[in-house]
Every structure is written in structure tokens, then in C-alpha cells.
């Protein structure tokens, strides 16, 4: 009998985060550390310019690649900020969020049977999108190595079918930044075994303790790198859905082929607004970074005071402490915390099996509410540890 629905789609497990969301959707008066987005509004300078853009009626389709003027801005920004050059003519593609960039990149390189190495825990979209291409997800557990991919373990996972590795640094959900030494070693393997490094750099602007190293700024990295970035996190523009791929021309040629049929072009208003963002809103990014950093410090200190094991997050907007000492698993912890203390966090298992024993706490929330939530968590943890 013929299947009514796509077998590939039916084989994908439903999103763990979605399942948790359905459980908490009706909860009232809670403090949520469960979001994955900034708590700032989009900078005013961007909003004002967007209104003007609309009034001028600049709202038709753009080139499939996206506005050339935006690609030029991005090219300069990547060069000045992250020391990697991409030609605005044919090495940059504007996408509807970095999420679309990931989808297009994977679809551009994968054939059925290919393998993609995926350090875990990781952001929720990678594995399902790999599976949709008929390729195989090869997970690499980082939970025992401070959430940095272990090089020996990685070497063991590489086969003749390895097509790519996906890195996300700073990482969602752990906040951990992969050190330069590891990046260099991974690049070396990518060159000798000829696979792509898909580097999701969406949190690049939100790092606290060191200068960010873009993967493609490493010597000889560019031909092997598919770089993904966007405006959602750095400029607090999640709902605008705007991101981009930087990659060698042959990759962009293929990605744009899919985009032109599936999407036509990224939202035009958002594209114009992104130009404003890069031209005028970088001071806002600095301001937000400072604010996240002070809240990161607060969270880190509190979690240590609670006696939780935690790897210091160097970026993004998340803490990913271990809650093993409570003898609860991630989902139990999150559900009971919500029920008993009205604080929402995301169970680590939403980000893969190796997230078991951890919870993700987003500190992009009002400082006073944040400290109240931390107080409640401390109370909760004491209760369960002594139980």
C-alpha cells in the first residue's frame, strides 16, 4: 500500500522542546527561563528605518541571493569583525533566518547514505534536517568533555562517508565556546578527510571572555567552511527571520538554486532592516552584550552556590547546569520545578540524549525576575537533594 505521508518526515521524532512546550503552555504566572531569544526589543534605529522602508513601498521581491547592498554590508562586517572575507557577488546568500541557512546548506551537500557528525547536546534542528536529506546523524557526546568535542572521539567517528560536521559555538544549549586549538584540530581533520565544517555562528556577537574566532578565519579554512550567521540573536531580531550563508561559490550556487524555488527571497523588509542594523545598531549590540554578561555572571555564581556542576558558559544566553545531584532526570526536574516553584526551564534532553541530567536556563530575562527564579531554584534543589 502506498504511504499517504512522507516516510522521511514520519521517521523524524517530534521536537522534544515542542513536547515540553505543550505541557507548559497553560501554566500561569510563571517566570520563564525557557526562551531561546533576547529579552530586548529590536533597536529603535532599526524599527524607525523599517517604517520608512515600508512607507516608501520598498516591498517587492529582491534578487534570489538577497539585496546586493546587504551582501556588501555583510561582507564588510564579516571582514572587519571576524577577519574572514566573502565576495558579496557570489559567496553570500541571504536566508530567512540562520535556520533556513542550515537547511539549504545540508540539502546542498548531502546525498542519501552520507554521514554528518553532530556534537551533542545541540540545537534542535540539525538532526531532523540531516535525516530529511536521507543522510545519517552520527552523534558525538560532549557531555563528558565540558561540551567541547573530544578529538579522539571525533577521529573514531570519521568514516569514508563523513560529509560534514556541524559546530555551534557559542553553543545552544550549553553556552560553551570551542577553543581555538580544538577548532584548528577539527579543521586539520576536515582537510585530510575531506569533509565540510558547517559553523553555526549565530551567537558570535554574544561572547564575554575572549575575542570570537570565526571558523573560516583560520588559515586554509575557507574552502571547507559553510558559515551561518544571522540577525536574530545579536540584534534582537528573532521575528524578522533574517540570516545568511557565507561559503565558497559552488556551495552558494547550489543553495540559491533551492532557495529560488522554495522561498524566492528572504523577506524584503527584513533585508533592508538588516542593512540598518549593520550600519547603525552595532552600539546596541555592545550594550546588550554587556547586559547579558552581567546576568551570566549572576547565574553562574548562583548555580555554583547551589552546588551544581556547571561548565562556565562563555557566550550565547544560556547556562546548562547538571541537576544529577537532585536524583531527578531532566524532564522530571523541569516539570516539578514548574509545578512547585513556577519557574520554566528546558530539560536538557530536548537537545539530544546526552543532555540528560542537565537543564537549559536562559538568562535573557528581567534581572529582578531572574534573581527571583534563581532563589526559587535554590530552594527547590535543596528540597530534592535532602529528600
Amino acid at each position: 500500500m502506498k504511504a499517504l505521508y512522507s516516510t522521511l518526515v514520519d521517521q523524524i521524532p517530534p521536537s522534544g522542546i515542542r513536547a515540553f512546550f505543550d505541557l507548559v503552555i497553560d501554566a500561569k504566572d510563571i517566570i520563564s527561563l525557557g526562551v531561546g531569544e533576547p529579552d530586548f526589543k529590536t533597536p529603535n534605529v532599526i524599527i524607525k528605518q523599517a517604517i520608512k522602508t515600508l512607507e516608501k513601498g520598498k516591498n517587492s521581491y529582491t534578487s534570489n541571493y538577497g539585496l546586493f547592498s546587504l551582501r556588501q554590508e555583510i561582507s564588510e562586517y564579516q571582514q572587519n569583525r571576524f577577519k574572514c572575507f566573502y565576495d558579496p557577488h557570489n559567496e553570500i546568500l541571504i536566508t530567512a533566518g540562520a535556520s533556513e541557512g542550515i537547511d539549504l546548506s545540508l540539502r546542498s551537500i548531502l546525498n542519501p547514505g552520507d554521514e554528518v557528525i553532530l556534537p551533542e547536546p545541540n540545537y534542535v534542528c540539525y538532526a531532523p534536517l540531516i535525516s530529511l536529506c536521507g543522510a545519517k546523524v552520527v552523534t558525538l557526546d560532549t557531555s563528558k568533555t565540558n561540551f567541547v568535542p573530544d578529538l579522539h572521539l571525533l577521529a573514531e567517528k570519521i568514516t569514508s562517508k563523513t560529509k560534514a560536521i556541524i559546530l555551534c559555538s557559542p553553543n545552544n544549549p550549553t553556552g560553551v565556546v570551542i577553543p581555538k586549538k580544538q577548532l584548528q584540530a577539527i579543521l586539520k581533520m576536515a582537510i585530510s578527510h575531506d569533509f565540510w565544517v558547517i559553523s553555526d555562528e549565530i551567537y558570535a556577537e554574544i561572547t564575554f571572555d575572549q575575542d570570537y574566532i570565526s571558523f573560516s578565519s583560520l588559515p586554509k579554512a575557507k574552502p571547507k567552511t559553510i558559515l551561518l550567521n544571522g540577525f536574530s540573536k545579536s540584534f534582537a531580531m528573532t521575528g524578522w527571520r533574517l540570516g545568511y550563508i557565507c561559503a565558497p561559490k559552488p556551495l552558494i550556487d547550489r543553495a540559491v538554486k533551492i532557495l529560488q524555488y522554495a522561498q524566492l527571497c528572504a523577506p524584503t523588509l527584513s533585508q533592508y532592516s538588516a542593512i540598518t542594523a549593520l550600519k547603525k545598531a552595532l552600539p546596541d549590540v555592545d550594550f546588550m552584550r554587556k547586559s547579558y554578561k552581567s546576568r551570566r555572571n549572576l547565574c553562574l555564581k548562583r548555580f555554583l552556590e547551589m552546588g551544581l556542576d556547571i561548565v562556565k558558559p562563555d557566550g550565547a544566553m544560556y547556562c546548562f547546569p547538571s541537576i544529577r545531584s537532585t536524583n531527578l532526570n531532566s524532564l522530571e526536574f523541569a516539570l516539578k520545578l514548574l509545578e512547585e516553584e513556577k519557574v520554566a526551564v528546558v530539560p536538557g534532553t530536548a537537545f539530544g540524549e546526552s543532555g540528560e541530567g542537565f537543564i537549559r536556563c536562559c538568562y535573557a530575562t528581567d534581572r529582578v525576575l531572574l534573581s527571583e527564579a534563581l532563589k526559587r531554584m535554590s530552594r527547590f534543589i535543596k528540597r530534592y537533594r535532602n529528600a
Binding site: 531569544e37 531572574l370 534563581l374
Partner: protein, 160 residues
């Protein structure tokens, strides 16, 4: 600077406890108390007040903005006259301004009639040579707080 951070929290919520301030700024509660008491004593913190939307009460007071032209005095300039005006309890705000007028006041009364009396009273002060009264029809924002129905948090409770 700790003082600025504490003031920022107090300005957004005057009822925040020193414990909450200490938790969210990650400093000792005793330091919070000491700093606030210092700021009160040296006059940096003038008063704790409440921003209200009196329309919800159904009996909003009548407010007017009054511009005044003042003939300054030889020795004290505007200050002596300003002090006199500020002493009136119906004067809520009072500034010396640049431009066509010298002072701008916000005054408050129960009725239009009250405001008329206030204007008459002010106009009778020697040195005040001209007044212009503007009744306030609707309040949109006060001290940084937008007046109106509360905006709901628009983010999802949980998102990837």
C-alpha cells in the same frame, strides 16, 4: 557604579526590597541599605512616589501646563520668585526654561474652576507679566512609564 545601578532599579520600581536589589546586583544587602540611606540623606533620592493612571479611578484630577513670563529681580534673578511659586501645593512640577517663556509649571486641581483660581493667583504675583495655560486632555506617558493597558509578554514561554 553601584549607586547608579541601585537608582536604576529603584526608579523602575520604588517598592523593590533591599534584598531583591542585593540579589539581582549580587552585592551585600547591608551595602544596599547603606547606599540608599546615604542617597536619601544627601538628597539624591528626593522622594518615593507612584505613577498612576487616575482615569481608572473614574475621578481624575484636572491638570494644566502653565507657561509664565517673569521679570527677573536685580540681585536674585529668577530664584526668589521661583521659590515662592514652588511653595504652592498645587504646583506639581516647575522648571526654568529657555525660549519664549521663563517658567513652565504643571499644576493640579479638582475642577476647571480650581485651575482658573490658580492662574488668577499666579497672575497676581508681581514680576509675573504673562501667562499661558494649557489644559491637559490625556496622559500618554509619565516619567518614562507609558500610561495605558499593560502590555503582555510577547515571547513564548519555551522556545528553542
Amino acid at each position: 557604579m553601584i549607586e547608579v545601578d541601585i537608582l536604576e532599579l529603584l526608579k523602575s520600581n520604588a517598592r523593590i526590597s533591599s534584598k531583591e536589589i542585593s540579589d539581582s546586583l549580587d552585592i551585600e544587602e547591608s551595602l544596599v541599605k547603606k547606599t540608599i540611606s546615604k542617597l536619601q540623606k544627601n538628597g539624591t533620592i528626593v522622594r518615593y512616589t507612584t505613577i498612576t493612571n487616575d482615569e481608572k479611578l473614574g475621578k481624575a484630577k484636572v491638570r494644566a501646563l502653565i507657561e509664565l513670563t517673569v521679570r527677573p529681580e536685580k540681585k536674585s534673578g529668577f530664584d526668589r520668585i521661583a521659590k515662592k511659586i514652588s511653595e504652592y501645593p498645587f504646583v506639581i512640577d516647575h522648571y526654568l526654561i529657555s525660549g519664549r517663556y521663563d517658567f513652565v509649571l504643571i499644576v493640579e486641581g479638582d475642577t476647571l474652576h480650581d485651575i482658573a483660581n490658580i492662574v488668577t493667583e499666579l497672575a497676581s504675583i508681581a514680576h509675573i507679566t504673562k501667562t499661558a495655560t494649557h489644559f491637559m486632555l490625556k496622559k500618554y506617558k509619565e516619567m518614562g512609564a507609558v500610561i495605558g493597558d499593560l502590555e503582555k509578554e510577547s515571547r513564548l514561554i519555551v522556545s528553542p
